[in-house]
Symmetry: C2
Subunit: 137 residues, 2 copies
DNA sequence: CGGCATCCTTGTAGATACTG
DNA sequence: CAGTATCTACAAGGATGCCG
């Protein structure tokens, strides 16, 4: 760990380091619901039940768990209003809003290139009808 | 589904549509290894065994499956040189290279904000020692 | 060398029922 | 209303061994 080495290996080091962190974030928001929740909250705070309605196929459990994870990472803010029945609102934090930018960038890529991907898949499947891949469609 | 409606609802429609596609892409590259492979191939093509060496903890099985999935989506190009022993090279396609841009954007976000996330987690864990979240550390 | 087959463990997620 | 608790399923992923 000599200082003299740092400029030599810094590029690769940083690259490797960034890869790991990138992988981490991608796994965090790469799950089934995080992005949908972040998108749903982009236009303002929502209550638990409103979120559940906007994301039709999510179960209460998964909504709770995903919100909890997002809250833990400081991406969403949870506000409890102590009335009966209880009212709980969720909103994006500043950090969560800043995350939106790269996420929608990825969304734009997906939208722009969706046809290329679809065609690539069809071409691949035509040649290799039942090849097992890591993620099924 | 009247045409007259399209301009009214187009914004929300497109948003919902983009969400779905974004979610799709994120799940595709949000798996454990895809990003690492894409990053590893960013500087040029690599052989199967070279990839395995650059990504120390990946199993042969997962390397094969992930490469196959990336190949199917047209992100990676597989080249077999029919000599013995066989030589197989993997490289990013143009599509794969274009994907790198938004991915490294996300990587930059992760790198920039890693401390904020870490602190948020610690603060959260301090208050709620053993809350179950969707994704464990 | 590259990769497929098999077996096995773990993680992710859904359904359902129950509580303050 | 906004969650927990429990139980179950299936898919991701790892270990190992064999093959062209």
């Amino acid at each position: 760990m000599k200082a003299a080495n740092s400029d030599v290996s810094s590029s690769l080091q940083q690259t490797a380091e960034k890869c790991a962190i990138t992988k981490d974030v991608l796994r965090r928001i790469g799950d089934k619901w995080s992005v949908l929740i972040i998108m749903a909250l982009s236009e303002g705070s929502l209550r638990f039940s409103e979120l559940a309605r906007q994301i039709p196929d999510i179960s209460q459990r998964m909504l709770t768990l995903t919100l909890r994870a997002l809250e833990r990472d400081g991406l969403v803010v949870r506000t409890v209003t102590p009335i009966v029945p209880a009212r709980v609102d969720y909103a994006l934090s500043a950090l969560g809003q800043s995350l939106q930018e790269p996420v929608v960038a990825l969304g734009r890529w997906a939208f722009t290139h969706q046809d290329e991907v679809k065609m690539a898949r069809e071409a691949f499947d035509a040649l290799r009808p039942d090849t097992e891949t890591a993620i099924e469609t």
